[in-house]
Amino acid sequence: MNRLKRISRHRLRRKLLRDLSASKGLFLAVTAVIILGVMFFGATSIGYQNLKQSYDYSYDELRFADFTIKVKEAPVEAVEELESIEGVASVTGRVNADIALALPGAESKRVLARVITLPADNRPAVNNVNLEEGSYFEAGDSDVLLVEKSFAEHHELEPGGNVILIADGRETTFGIAGIVTSPEYIWPAKNRQEILSSAETFGVVFVTEDAAIGLTGSSSINEFAFIVEQDADRDAIIAEAKQRLRTNSTIMDVVPREDQPSNTAVSMDLEEMGEFSEVFPLLFLIVGALATYIFLTRIVHNQRPQIGLMRAIGYTRRQVLIHYLSFALTIGVTGAIVGTIAGYLLSEVVTRFYVGILGLPYTQIQIQWLPIGEGLVLGIIPCAIAGIIPAYAASRLSPAEAMRIPAPAAGRKLLLEKVFPFLTRMSSVWKIPLRNIFRNRRRSLYTIIGVTFGISLILVSAAFIDSIDYFLNLQFERIQKYDAQMVFSPTQLPPATMVSEVQAWDEVDRAEPVLQVPVRLFRGDEEYTTSAVGLPPDSDLYRLYSTAGDRVNVSDEGILLSGSLEGVLDTHVGDVIAVVSAGVKEVQFYQVAGFLQQPMGAFGFVTLEEAQVLAGGQSVISGLMLDVHPDYLDSIREKAYTVPGVASVELTSESNDKVVELMSFIRNMMWIMLGFGAALALAIVFTTVTVNILERRPEIATMRTLGQDKGRIASMITIENLLLVIVGIIPGIPLGYLLAIYLFRLFQADIMTFYLIVYPTTYLWTIALIIVILLISQIPSIRHINRLDLARVIKEQST
């Protein structure tokens, strides 16, 4: 008996393989959907885990701060005081200052350098650095520094080289001891407002405490970085630390780890990857399950006589059930295994690519068993669920019924034809496709769902690409109209009269002043640290747009806030917010005059005069925006550095290039996603179109025998599929848009605001693309019916 069972199992296995081989086109198409879904899941979720571990490991190894408190000035002894707070594990006190830096060989060129102190004789207890090249400080060092890796790479700085730091007009040459990575600058952001900083104009260097005294002439510090003990109440510790610091210094800002600019940026990226790893594979696997169901339903339908025979000669219902379920499981297992392997390999590429872009201090690429296991389950389970219904139906067929010739499919007049009787008088080229849609409604629905999901994926990806383009266009074409900005060192702010001096240059067509004042905004319990940006009311080189898209100007009526602050401060137009700046003792109050579209950063915009009030009533500026004559775009930087106090000259074209470069990762990801969406649509449309046509071979052969030409039949098939695609497009576009809204919420942060934009042309080409996909996917079927052996096929039973 066991031997017989083994033999029958062997026979059924052989039949399974041969049946699959006979339908290999469909089998491959359905399996491809599962492979793509599992591969996408694997690549993103394993990549996500690898990156998360890499970040966590880097943060742990380098003792990344749980929070940081910035003060105006504090004595070094405060560190000890803060360390005594219960729950504090470590505290590091340091200087953190932005000063000008000149590069050897290009002394006229300045870069804004973030100078951070580190102890010379040992590593800091908090926010350590990872030495990539060269050596760390030695006790007594005061003329060497460490350069952050991305800045060093951009300017090709190496250990043994020199840079010049310029503080209060004094130039001091430092040797480069080493190149380092820092947990605070994995994403080298200047601050939350300028998250996409260019290494061309901004860099981070680390100096010893002795060197800082030499630069500033003071031994006091202005920043404390904390690590708290596990399970300690961080908020309580922050409150206690603020309390203690208030006694002898002014608190400027408190930055918890999650708000730290670099960490915020990488967390956003990670979150986005994690979200993508869940949403998109889900769509693939739903479509994969539908495709499996369609495929298996067709197999069962076509094999009715075989099922009848199997049952008649003694195969049990269970054997029939398992046999037909095996088709679905073969698809699931093949898709899951191939998809997991491909996803695993791709995840390493994704991780290394990402790590390569950011230069993470430590990379953790490990076998991630959980996502691998999840991928396998995700591939197999939907197929098993999809397969159980047709397999069960096969097992319940009675042998006699199964071997009987099926009755013709029920035809009926459509409701549409009853409502619009003229439809009944349509040519058969239109009438047959229209009725065919309702002939196998379930399958038509699956085609529609497949198209809907496919177009959603395409549209979501296209929406991201459009929004990135809009982001860049808004920032660099519409808001930032200047060609270059001269940024002055905070310690050497020039008088406002500097504008007319620069305006007189031959190189400059127009110059406008700007004054950025560090401030804290308060509204109720909410507070936010940023800059108040002072602009001339008639500013043309920095244009402001309301959230509705209208051009607006700063005025005496109040403060204009970046749109993201509406949520951050929970404020509305007409509310009064409090503004605290280091320059004035009294708190200033401003009415919120409106909200602005602001892609990068979140600021408060006031008139230049108001900004000068916040700066302590001095008639100074912090920068000059220049509209440069086209002939002088290459030489303006050199000319600008001749002005005393200029810390950096930022060219809009360079900033644009930098942002484009940083955006390239997500942009490329979106193009890949778009390809996946197109592949998904192709696979599902191919599956359903092929099944539909294969099932109607006798009918099509009859049409041709009656004298219908191939073109007319191809037209009918195309019309039927086009109608289904159009029906799929109708929910697909809003679904894609809703999906984009859902995923876009990850990008809505104060540091960077994306506006969901889909250009009308994008809708058009998305629709065109899905139609092209349809036309491509039906080519094999149309070729097949054009080569039909009419004499043989008209003898087959049509259904």
């Binding site: 009755a407 047959i432 002939r439 009656l706 004298g707 049509s798």
Partner: protein, 243 residues
Amino acid sequence: MPDTIHAKAGDIVLKLEDVSRTYQMGAIEVKALTGIALDITRGGFVAILGPSGSGKTTLLNLVGGIDSPSSGRITVDGIELSALDDKGLTSYRRNHIGFVFQFFNLIPTLTARENIEFAAELVNAPRAPDDVLEVVGLKERADHYPSELSGGEQQRVAIARALSKDPPILLCDEPTGELDFETGKHILSSMRTINKQDGKTILLVTHNTAIGEIADRVIRLRSGEIIEDRINESPIDPQGLRW
């Protein structure tokens, strides 16, 4: 080799000259038809008889232009089929041939009338669907879908569909094969009426020897060759058939 019945040249609607058809089935070569020579007169009712595998359906398919001979020549209404390309064969089937299949082959999403219109719209001067439905006695069922018709009714719709194009030749492949005895007789009666009243040439393929008795001429095939070709001097009324 049986005696070939030669019709007068002017009356010949169909002529087969030394027609053979060989299929390659894997490594085996199957001779479906060998050296068939036939002249069929216009308006004739010809029964082609033979057991399974005798080549009768192959013969019908060759005449219908849905299969091509391996050798020999087929001329229908002066048209030499081997000279036609795919487009020409489509046009030939459209204008010269009406098919009636064993399994009816109606389009399930179209009503009886629409199935007829579907064929009729292919030719310049079709017969009105209601007229041909009346010929087969189904005018009152014109708006029914195939699933709402009995087997016999479906086959009558198929005959009406074939007639709608008003072709000179009707090719009927086992038209009663799926029908019960009474319904089968009714279908054969309809065919005989069409043959007599409309003057259509009918080639009827069947393995049922008894059906041959209603035809004007009986051609018997075996293993791809004609073993009998005779004129039936006294064809009987289909209603008198017994099998």
